[in-house]
Symmetry: C2
Subunit: 351 residues, 2 copies
């Protein structure tokens, strides 16, 4: 496992995207989102996905020269057609629009259609924080999760992120898939050849399973905590796609280039839903941040079960990881390193 | 188990509240919310709670003559001081404000402080549906749920409801606690003297338990699906209370009159957060509803695990229950019937 500096990987990602014809500013933005995932320890959503984006581009399914446009608008809302670009590029722009609307009328909400994978939801939601706003980001994703009582893959892992500003404490950031486990956790178990906990996956017949490779033989992921997670993932699907005009449910195009989208799609690309709420549209921001600090400090002091295991605040492990990786660098496992080297070679770059 | 018609129970609830000095229109509204819970089969949130509201009133903790006021406002937001009234009364009024704002600028969001229990979240969110809007409702609640790694009750069951309009199909309504099980399910197991599934509660020492009475000996409820549910319940707490100026976390006043609120509270009463988003602020409502019907029909057809167990759409069981109870009446278990009869006697009414 070798370590790479943030700057080094950022430059590499940027070069890969520009080499594929992406405008420099967009390539910079896409690199920002990807590297933020690696820094925060969400390795499954960082540079590990870079070659996948390039394959989607080569397959003609991701437009690296996309010009997004607002196709519908009110003072507090907008709907955006992402022109088949990467969510990595359009979602930050859409978040800027949401923030601008929140400045004007208190809140801003943007639904996006005709997009592709947007990286970690956390990056987009956290853009609201420096503006003393609450940020919200969600997206649908290619179907891997079965609804309760079903064995069919109908929903993506459909993540939700909510980020709340605080005062002296780190912000509160919850960034979670609406399945019990996201694919990244299965991959870790696969590499370690370990069994996974019951409840993460089921077989293609709908039986319980502890096999981390179950998805490869037609199995499905299970929704967070049972039927509630199914409802939550479904709500994310509807907000991201039925509201924006993107594809939903089993029609969401696969993230991998070797699987083709279904025919007769009901919408365009995949969908995201973003929001920004200005704190002082509800109460003075200083009051809110004071109470957020109080909230955080009180929860950190909650009585522990194991005296050595502290109670964590959502987002805390990621902030700690980011601090560490800014200092020591980003570790890449061999498989990812090899993948990036192959990509570099193909494009005449060096990792 | 005796059956009562909707109208009969509605009148009774109204009489109880007016007898305690609540203005007639407010008593009607409160009855609407309570009876909607019984009709939908959420028996734990219907007339079973009526005497509890009266006890809060008698203890001087719920103001039955409350005059709510808007204390902060932008075109898309408002913060309301509920004047220590019942959430049953103020939340529908706040939802009307959210809907009005959504008519004007696309979306409307209302944070409420200084309130009390608001009944089922579903009633409030569903008020948006006839306006072709998406409705959102959440509330914090008195602390029963322990954060991950903790054995201390720090969060309520903090429910979230999201209601989406549809065309020919029933609307999609997800209305869920952010704990694995809400108190109502424990009560059912207590009455049946049955064990509960692992994961619902833990002992006061933080050990796993299948004892439905665990809360009575200092145990706590567990968040939905582990740490994600903790984060989700926490986000509901922050939106409902830190944003509105209500009490949060362990400071949320108990719903029962025999437990006193803590001292040095950081806010006022309990908090709610409500939202309304106009569909045609994003895309034409007719298009959205067409695709919602398509979504619903496709999910109903998802491959079943057990051929006899159909895949359900969130809200479907409640709509079926409502249809049945509108016809045959609302069944009250003996304990609830006795409780209401005692209340009736005390107030010089008949059930």
């Amino acid at each position: 496992m070798n370590l790479y500096s943030k700057k080094h990987l950022h430059n590499f990602v940027q070069h890969v995207f520009t080499k594929c014809g992406m405008p420099a500013a967009d390539a910079f933005q896409a690199a920002e989102v990807l590297i933020s995932a690696d820094l925060r320890g969400i390795d499954s959503h960082g540079v590990a996905r870079l070659s996948g984006y390039v394959r989607l581009f080569e397959a003609g399914r991701a437009n690296f020269n996309a010009k997004h446009k607002i196709i519908h608008e009110t003072p507090s809302t907008a709907t955006i057609d992402a022109d088949a670009g990467l969510g990595l590029v359009v979602a930050p722009k859409a978040m800027d629009i949401a923030i601008e609307k929140a400045k004007n009328v208190g809140t801003g909400w943007v639904a996006i259609q005709n997009s592709n994978h947007f990286g970690i939801a956390g990056y987009h939601a956290m853009k609201a924080l420096p503006h003393d706003m609450i940020g919200i980001a969600m997206t649908n994703a290619s179907p891997l999760v079965a609804p309760t009582f079903s064995k069919e893959r109908m929903l993506g892992t459909n993540p939700i992120c909510m980020a709340f500003p605080s005062g002296n404490q780190q912000p509160f950031v919850i960034d979670m898939a609406t399945s019990n486990a996201a694919n990244g956790k299965l991959e870790i178990a696969q590499r370690a050849k370990k069994e996974i906990p019951l409840g993460w996956v089921q077989t293609k017949n709908g039986d319980a399973s502890v096999n981390a490779n179950e998805l490869k033989s037609g199995g499905s992921l299970l929704p967070l905590g049972g039927h509630k997670g199914y409802g939550l993932g479904a709500a994310v699907d509807i907000l991201s796609a039925v509201l924006s005009g993107a594809n939903y449910g089993p029609w969401v195009p696969p993230f991998v280039a070797f699987l083709n989208p279904l025919e007769n799609l009901p919408g365009n690309g995949i969908g995201h839903f973003l929001g920004a709420m200005r704190i002082d549209a509800f109460r003075p921001a200083a009051d809110f941040k004071l109470h957020m600090d109080n909230w955080i400090l009180r929860f950190k002091e909650a009585e522990r079960i194991d005296p050595d295991q502290e109670v964590l605040i959502p987002g805390e492990p990621e902030f700690k990881m980011q601090e560490e990786r800014e200092k020591i660098g980003i570790p890449l496992i061999e498989a990812v390193e090899n993948d990036l080297q192959t990509l570099a070679q193909k494009l005449g770059l060096t990792l």
